[in-house]
Structure formats: C-alpha cells, structure tokens
Amino acid sequence: MRGLRTLSIATVAAIVAGVALVFFYAPLDADQGFIQKIFYLHVPLGIVALAGFMVAAVHAIRHLRSGDPIHDARSYVSIHISVIFGVAVLATGSIWARASWGKWWVWDEPTLVSFLIVFLLYATYYPLRYAIEDRDRQARYASVFAIMAGAFVPLNFLAVRLAESLLHPRVFATAEGGMPGPMWLTFLVSLAGIALLWLTLVRFELAAKDASAQLARLRRALEAPARAAPARRDLARSGAR
C-alpha cells in the first residue's frame, strides 16, 4: 500500500487537469468539430490498454524465469485492468464511430477489427487460467499465454499502421502537419492521467489480493492449533487414564 495514496492523488489531479484542458483549452478540430473531444479519452485508453498487455508479458517472462508468484500476480492484474480498459476503448470508439461515420461498428476497418481480435484474445485468458486446477501449472500456462499474446500486440499495431486505413483517422500522422501544440499538450496530459489510473488500479488490485492472501494465511494459522488443541487434550486424558 506504500505510495498508493500519493499515486491516487496524482491520478485524480492528472485526470481533472486532462478533462479541463479537453473542454476549456484544446481548440476544436477543423474537420470533426466537437466530436473530436472523444479522441482525448479513446486514444489514451487504447494506448494504455495495449501497453498494459505488454507489461503483463514482461511480468510473465519474469515469472517463468524466477518462479516467483508475485510476477504471476502482477501479470494477471495487468491483463485484468487492461481488459477493463479495452471495454472502455470499444465503447468510446463505437460512440465516436456512430457520431462520425453514422455506424456503431465497421467490419472492414483494420484498426477496429484488429483491436477487437486482441481484446477477444485476452478475454480467453480467464477461462484458460481457471480451467487449470493446479496452482503452479495454472500460473505457468497463464504466463506462457501472456507472453504469446503480448508478442502479438506490437505485431498487430505495426500491421494496422501499415494497412491502408479506410475510415479510421491516423491521429499521429505528420504528413498533413499533424496536431497543433495545444492539442498535443491536452493529449499528453490525458494520456498521463489514463496511464496513472491504470497504475493506481493495478496497485489497488494487487494490494487487495495481498490482503486476502495474508488473511487466508492468518486464518489457517489460527484455526490449525484450535483444531489440534481438543485432540491434544483427548490424548492427554487417555494417557492419564
């Protein structure tokens, strides 16, 4: 829990600053108008979710190398929070698509479909993990999955960048001048806010998992002598007779 309070305060401050910049500082987009404000939420969520999957892969490698269960827990929680962020990416993207293109979803757009594939891939992590009863095997298999799926993320990102976009805007394109300074600043503050939120939620989830594990240990320690004590008393009585 160390530093969690400071991290939470920094997260709230960054998100509030980001939202204030989005609505009171960033200029209106000449092409899309007010609807472009969704970009400051949707794109950072997408970047952070994909980066989170990569972080999970790094922890999975560390778990396989060291066998330390803490790395497995970190990998699991990173995927867990990134999947939640993935739901937000799909929801905000659909709203943007509806307003911008008149459709909630476009199946022939590589950016959308490839993100959906990555999201669905990680959605299978849970049934795969909990289908295995043995805890060690479960952790090992989950780590292998996290590494394989994590390797797929940058490949997928590259493939999308190389593919011809039909509708989805390329927000970091520099060929047409790119974004003006105030938009960049707003985007970077929003990105920092979302990244801090991801980190805070990961730390909270890990702290909750750690507390549950410590409680289970404490319960085992307290209940074991309590179960043994009557048996010891019976033994002592039968010995006295």
């Binding site: 092409d31 108008g33 409680l215 307290l222 209940e223």
Partner: protein
C-alpha cells in the same frame, strides 16, 4: 462526413465520457465490496483470536 453541430455532438461526447465514468465507478464498487469482505474476514479472525486468548487464560488459571 461534415462535422456534427455542437448540440448533437455534445450528446455523443457526454455519452463517451459517461461510459468511461460508469466503468470506473463499477470497478470502484466491486473493489469496495471486496474491501468489505476483507473487513468482515478480519473481524471474524479477531474474534477467533480473542476467543483463543480467553481459552488459554482460563486453562492457565486452572
């Protein structure tokens, strides 16, 4: 496609930000429920430990 007028675009922008807020709130509610469970567990363990302490004291006095 031409940019939507502000009154129409505002609905979608508000919708996107509210969806995100709702997701975060649902997550916080789940975490709060987890915290309550941990708190209940902790209280039951404290009761168990106190009961065992009292038993040990009783046996010591005998």
């Amino acid at each position: 496609m031409p940019a939507l007028p502000l009154d129409e675009a505002g609905k979608y922008v508000a919708g996107a930000y509210l969806v995100f807020l709702a997701l975060v709130l649902v997550y916080v509610a789940i975490m709060a429920a987890k915290l309550q469970r941990i708190d209940r567990e902790l209280r039951s363990l404290a009761t168990l430990a106190e009961g065992r302490g009292a038993d040990a004291q009783g046996e010591g006095e005998r």
